[in-house]
């Protein structure tokens, strides 16, 4: 789960990482008030969970409260890379002497936490990573020992950090480790700026929380920003269904993430376009299946639905009952459904579906081909 910049900064503040003074606002008149309180030039920052915000005009400097209000009015109506702006963060403008980069994340290949620093912070850090990897220092952290002072010193030396900032840098790095250790899978300050007046300041903050660990951090679960997520995705989440919206016209209902991806791939391979990724997980009940179909039926893009189930823990008769339930609730809907059931209780499943007179398929490719032809819009 990604959280917004202003939320990450709240957490930074708790761990005593220096951040610019500021406040989040839901409307332009409050933006003016914040700007007046801050007194000087301010920066207005759109709060969206997507990259490329600066380049899309989502971060702007205002000389006075009037300008801040105007900018906020404009921003609130904007979409940034497909995400509407509902909130802006208003902060004092900070003088920037130098932009650094500092983060802690997970290195999958080494199966280890890794702290990363660079003296080339800012929006071009990814280019730096590709073009000049030697400008980026990575140090693995032993999760049982934690981040050590000598490791932080090595980072400070590698990014040429003046000695007078070392103490603060050590404190910030240690704070990031505390945040990461408490189940953030990524915590990033980019840029971490050296300013004339205030020394080191975290100008931006990104944080991802490990969804699997939310059970031990109920306070973090409340940070989820439902506004920022696709409404079908939010709906799916309620039922414990993993759903990702896509742009095609064939709705997919599958058990298991790997099989769900393979189902999307085969549709594409045969000339169709998947409308979504949908994994109902293992051992799904009829109710869950029915809710999943309900989501697919509510999507105006969907012209045909492909149900692809390999029963292991999942029982195909339960799936068939779910399909029957959904169809009886949506008898006005004329979206064709192709069903493929294999494995546990598949025969019972097909028997339950007999009355519905649905097209069935026994092989993977047959199922995909039928769904594509029923979707009516075959591309090349």
């Amino acid at each position: 789960m990604k959280i917004q910049e202003y939320q990450a900064k709240h957490i930074f503040q708790k761990y005593e990482i220096p951040i610019p003074r500021g406040q989040v606002a839901l409307n332009a008149s409050f933006v003016r008030q914040i700007a007046e309180d801050l007194g000087d030039k301010v920066v207005v920052k759109a709060q969206v969970l997507v990259g490329g915000r600066g380049k899309a005009g989502g971060i702007r400097l205002a000389d006075d409260p009037d300008e801040a209000e105007d900018i906020a009015t404009e921003m609130m109506g904007m979409e940034i890379n497909g995400f509407p702006v509902h909130k802006v963060l208003v902060e004092e403008a900070v003088d920037i002497k130098k932009e650094l980069y500092l983060s802690i994340g997970t290195d999958r290949t080494n199966a280890s936490p890794v702290i990363i620093a660079s003296e080339y912070g800012g929006i071009d850090i990814e280019d730096a990573a590709e073009e000049a990897p030697e400008k980026i220092t990575r140090i693995l952290i032993d999760p049982l020992i934690g981040l050590c002072d000598f490791q932080i010193r090595r980072l400070a030396v590698s990014i040429d950090l003046p000695r007078k900032h070392w103490k603060k840098f050590t404190q910030i790095a240690n704070a990031l480790w505390q945040i990461y250790k408490n189940d953030a899978s990524l915590v990033e300050i980019n840029p971490l700026v050296i300013s004339e007046q205030n020394g080191l300041v975290a100008l931006d903050g990104k944080m991802t929380i490990d969804d699997n660990a939310l059970f031990r951090h109920p306070e973090l679960a409340d940070l989820r920003d439902l506004d920022m997520e696709n409404s079908f995705e939010v709906e799916a989440q309620k039922y414990g269904i993993t759903y990702v919206h896509m742009t095609g016209n064939i709705g997919c209902l599958v058990n298991g993430a790997g099989l769900a991806m393979a189902t999307m791939d085969i549709l594409k391979l045969k000339g169709g376009e998947p409308a979504n990724f949908l994994d109902i997980g293992g051992g799904a009940s009829a109710e869950k299946v029915s809710s999943a179909l309900h989501i697919l039926f509510s999507d105006p893009q969907v012209k045909a639905v492909l149900v692809n189930i390999f029963g292991g823990i999942t029982r195909c008769d339960e799936i068939a009952r779910g399909i029957t339930m959904a169809l009886s609730e949506h008898n006005h809907i004329k979206i064709p459904l192709v069903v493929r059931l294999i494995g546990t209780n598949a025969e019972e499943g097909y028997k339950i579906l007999e009355k519905q007179n649905l097209p069935v398929a026994h092989t993977f490719s047959e199922a995909a081909e039928k769904a594509i032809s029923l979707s009516g819009v075959k591309k090349k």
């Binding site: 490990d210 031990r216 993430a257 991806m261 998947p274 990724f277 494995g343 490719s365």
Partner: protein, 286 residues
């Protein structure tokens, strides 16, 4: 022969008295797996599975009494760190962790603990391991695989079933099928499995099922080029997955260009691996 498990495997089930634990233990036993013990803290002294399998409070006692040499873990995610560490600490040679949704931090700690241990950890978020006709440890449906000479290693669950089923349809049998798990941080990766299959005299060919995310397939492609003499056939899921989106598996996140399905497929082809376009295509390539 086979890898990891066989007729001699004496299996312990951690979480045997839970709903999932009991259900799958019954299926494993019906398949012919030699389950010798269960562990559930504070249920020690009870008997399950027709009163034939003893339950212990700790892995250590269970191993002392029953000489169990492998453990399947079917406990809820919030208890999984403790269960895995307990089994490593008791020096069990093999752990197969089925549990899904374990916090990454817990697994990072386990990975560090494993560095000083002889234990092999398969999973978590694994469907298990099956050596057809001999032993099944986990939740892979027993009926979909027949004994044979093809080793199967996969990061996925139901997608693996799909492949096993397609192989069975063409009467192609399996030496051992290993689900290494779909999470970002797992105990054992493709390379260790490839190396075991390479050394197993009864495995002639290997099927590798990968997906987007991480670099494990990329490393496997290198390993195949330099170390493998047996032919490898691969399938990679996720060509159509949108960039940066999470596809259910915590592991399946594309990070930039690295980890994309296309890159993995290209590297496998360069390594001389035949790559199937879809799962049902695999038997034809074997």
């Amino acid at each position: 022969m086979s890898i990891l498990i066989n007729k001699e495997t004496r299996l312990l089930v951690q979480g045997i008295t839970g709903k999932e634990g009991l259900y799958h233990s019954e299926l494993m036993r019906a398949y012919g797996t030699n389950i010798v013990a269960g562990v559930t803290p504070s249920k020690g002294g009870e008997w399950v599975l027709d009163e034939k399998i003893p339950v212990f409070d700790t892995v250590q006692t269970a191993m002392e009494v029953t000489e169990a040499n492998a453990s399947v873990i079917l406990v809820p995610a919030k208890f999984a760190f403790d269960s895995i560490y307990e089994a490593i600490d008791a020096h069990i040679p093999l752990i197969i962790c089925i549990t899904e949704g374990i916090p990454a931090m817990d697994m990072l700690k386990i990975k560090t603990i494993l560095k000083t241990s002889e234990t092999i950890l398969i999973g978590p978020n694994s469907p298990g391991v099956i050596t057809p006709g001999e032993c099944k440890a986990g939740i892979i449906p027993g009926a979909i695989a027949i004994p044979g000479t093809v080793g199967v290693v996969s990061r996925s669950g139901t997608l693996t079933y799909e492949v096993l089923y397609a192989m069975k349809g063409k009467k192609i049998g399996v030496s051992t099928c290993v689900g290494i798990g779909g999470d970002a941080i797992i105990g054992t990766g493709f390379i260790d499995m490839l190396s075991m299959f390479e050394q197993d005299p009864d495995t002639e060919k290997i099927v590798l099922i990968g997906e987007i995310g991480g670099k494990d397939e990329e490393l496997a492609a290198d390993y195949i080029t330099t170390e493998m003499t047996k032919p490898v056939i691969a399938y990679i899921a996720g060509l159509t997955a949108p960039k940066g989106k999470r596809m259910g598996h915590a592991g399946a996140i594309i990070e930039g260009r690295a980890g994309s399905a296309l890159q993995k497929i290209e590297l496998f082809r360069k390594a001389g691996v035949k790559v199937a376009e879809y799962p049902e295509d695999i038997p034809a390539l074997l």
